[in-house]
């Protein structure tokens, strides 16, 4: 039973930030696509902006990995 809870905790740790990241990236991505239509020279900046919310899921992944492996 304990293993189930550990797996569930790890799934929550990565799942919730993943949803949050996906939501944030969808908003930034849509705005970025609009920006690129007018200013294609901002491609690099937009890629970086889209990558910014990935911090959430990365930290979630780290926490999930630690829950599972430690």
């Amino acid at each position: 039973m304990e293993k189930v809870w550990i797996a569930f905790a790890a799934a929550l740790a990565i799942g919730l930030p993943a949803i949050a990241t996906a939501w944030a990236q969808s908003r930034i991505g849509a705005a970025g696509a609009g920006t690129l239509a007018e200013k294609p020279e901002l491609t690099g900046v937009i890629i970086i902006l889209v990558a910014i919310p990935e911090t959430m899921v990365i930290l979630g992944f780290v926490v999930a990995a630690m829950i599972l492996l430690m």
Partner: protein, 628 residues
């Protein structure tokens, strides 16, 4: 690095102004800045005033401007058949060109107008021909009656055809026949035959129903249908021959005159730029004065040039850059060999201010290291190195792909280096096949040590950023800001040591005194930066934690590589196993290039550069000649 700039003032007799501007324009190393002169104007407004051109110069500028516009109009009408530009000196022939351009412009306008009419009629006829050719086979369906009126219509779709049939039936009580077919371009067309008495109301009804009738030139409208098509074809051939003749006429005019006009246009553009540039000069009764910016290492050469050309009449003086002018100094970046390709990545940011740093060397040093730390696999590193060599060999040295190839090459070398340290060759394949063992960390298992390593990298990187920020503030003569940065640095260092002391207790590392140290520094920070200072400190700690992505992305890459190897192994067939593992490794490599690139850049742009880089500089944009 940011090239050192010099503020220079050029002074000379008024009559040498245009020639001086011409020389500066020719050298392409000087950027005028009239706003610098406004300060002098305020101080000595009795003597200095903005330059007003004399009558001769005004007349000349107006003449050149008019000629420039007419030549531009003429070239826009010609078909660009020739692009050779002769080494002609246009000034002696300007009067002749002034007369010729009117003649050529008139002729070209007339020819283009005829050609446009011709093309319009050709388009109409071609469209009609397509319709009438499609309708010809329907003629056989019609009853033989000389009293019949025949006309064609275009029909939107099958529903409109049905509605049309119903309408015709109702209007003519069956004294009408409609056939339909589809043209080569897919348009549905119909042929309607009716007697002369009902044709009038029928046409009226078709107009009301928005069913367009196929029109014909008046001279063809009375011909019987088979002859119409023949006449249409003949007319089309004639028009096409006419159009070819007119095009040839324009092409001949272009081949003969475009090179000369093109050269004249370039010369005129340069000349008009010179006149516009006079707006940057100020004058006294006898002298002109220009101030602006140039690279410091070019000052003595330009001074010698001016001396030789004007025999000492025009003087260049380098002046001290005042503190309040530092923000106005334009920025020129130039990086030596190794760092030059990394400008591709620093150009994604706005330019730094002159008093700040060029981010390129920082990216050149740290980006490949972070990339290697994240990807760290001998197999992937070898593939990336091959791709990098291929790109560098395939493209010219200045090409973007060549620069990207060079960056990838350096990143691949670090990937190989860290791959050896992690003992990875396509994940755990190296261990199974080649007996490779980690020299440092086994990333698949040592999650915590790897996380500590990534955070340590973050601490070093962020503290370096804060130190550079403090140095930049000192250079800008802002010691108070520099002190705040040093206090922040000390606070971060104490906090980090406190965290280390908490998790790895050492007799010499007491958490309590370290936290007291932070407590002493906090009021200093609040006094200097306001109530947001503790938040800034927290943000800095968050920036450090963000470096844990070095471990996380690397860890996910290792796991994906291991999954690829496992899946390849469970297939039970060597070929299928290689195929499955190959596809998954290719996918992992693709992610392995994209993710480390984006996240390494992000660590630089968001975490590192925010500590010291002051963006928003003006690009150095000197006057430059476009034509020889």
């Amino acid at each position: 690095m940011i090239i050192r700039m010099a503020k220079v003032e050029i002074v000379g007799p008024k009559q040498d102004l245009l020639n001086t501007l011409d020389l500066l324009h020719d050298r392409g190393i000087f950027q005028p800045d009239p706003q610098l002169l406004e300060r002098i104007k305020l101080a000595r407004e009795d003597h200095l005033q903005a330059l007003v051109l004399d009558e001769n110069n005004l007349h000349e500028r107006s003449f050149f401007q008019g000629l420039f516009e007419r030549i531009t109009q003429l070239l826009a009408l010609l078909p660009e058949a020739s692009e050779d530009i002769p080494p002609l000196q246009p000034l002696p022939v300007m009067d002749l060109l002034d007369e010729l351009v009117d003649k050529h412009l008139l002729s070209a306008r007339e020819t283009v107008s005829q050609l446009t009419d011709c093309h319009t009629e050709i388009d109409d006829l071609q469209r009609d021909l397509v319709f009438w050719q499609a309708l010809t086979p329907l003629l056989g369906d019609l009853p033989e009656d000389s009293n019949l009126e025949i006309f064609g219509v275009t029909i939107r779709d099958a529903y409109q055809l049905q509605a049309l049939e119903d309408l015709l039936q109702k209007l003519t009580q069956g004294r009408c026949h409609i056939s339909s077919t589809t043209t080569a371009d897919g348009t549905l067309v119909g042929l309607i035959a009716t007697d002369c008495e009902t044709s009038g109301p029928l046409r009226q009804a078709l107009t009301e129903e928005h069913v367009p009738e196929l029109s014909l030139p008046e001279e063809l409208a009375d011909l019987p249908l088979p002859k119409r098509i023949l006449a249409l074809q003949e007319r089309l051939d004639l028009l096409q021959a006419n159009a070819h003749g007119l095009e040839a006429e324009l092409r001949d005019l272009d081949v003969q005159w475009r090179p000369i006009y093109r050269r004249a246009l370039d010369w005129l553009a340069e000349r008009l730029t010179l006149y516009r540039a006079t707006a940057t000069a100020y004058t006294t009764q006898l002298c002109f004065l220009i101030q602006g910016w140039m690279a410091e290492n070019g000052v003595s050469d330009l001074r010698n040039d001016l001396n030789q050309t004007f025999l000492g009449r025009v003087v260049l003086e380098q002046q001290a850059i005042l503190d309040e002018e530092v923000e106005r100094v334009p920025v020129m970046l130039r990086n030596p060999g190794y760092f030059a390709p990394f400008e591709v990545l620093s150009r994604l940011l706005p330019l730094p201010k002159y008093s700040s740093y060029d981010p390129t060397p920082m990216i050149g040093i740290f980006f490949p290291v972070f990339f290697g730390m994240i990807l760290g696999d001998v197999g992937y590193g070898m593939i990336l190195l091959l791709i990098a060599l291929f790109l560098a060999k395939l493209y010219q040295p200045q090409h973007l792909a060549s620069d990207l190839g060079k960056i990838l090459g350096v990143a691949a070398l670090y990937t190989l280096f860290f791959g050896v340290l992690y003992g990875e060759f396509f994940g755990d394949l190296g261990e199974a096949w080649l007996g490779l063992h980690p020299l440092w960390f086994d990333r698949g298992k040592d999650v915590l040590p790897m996380a500590v390593f990534a955070l340590t990298v973050g601490v070093v990187h962020i503290l370096l950023g804060i130190t550079l920020g403090a140095l930049a503030d000192l250079r800008r003569h802002k010691p108070r800001l520099a002190l705040v940065k040093l206090a922040t640095l000390l606070s971060v260092l104490l906090l980090v040591l406190a965290v280390v002391g908490y998790f790895y207790p050492q007799s010499w590392l007491k958490t309590g005194p370290l936290l007291i140290g932070v407590g002493i520094l906090l009021p200093v920070l609040i006094a200097a930066e306001g109530l947001l200072a503790p938040l800034e400190l927290l943000k800095t700690m968050g920036n450090i934690i963000s470096y844990i992505r070095i471990m996380a992305i690397g860890f996910s890459s290792v796991l994906l590589a291991m999954v690829a190897n496992r899946l390849g192994g469970v297939t039970g067939d060597v070929m299928v196993g290689i195929l499955v593992a190959g596809i998954l490794h290719a996918f992992n490599l693709l992610l392995g290039v994209f993710a480390p690139t984006v996240h390494s850049l992000r660590l630089h742009y968001v975490e590192f550069f925010s500590k010291f880089l002051d963006l928003g500089g003006r690009r150095f944009d000197p006057w430059q000649k476009r034509s020889p």
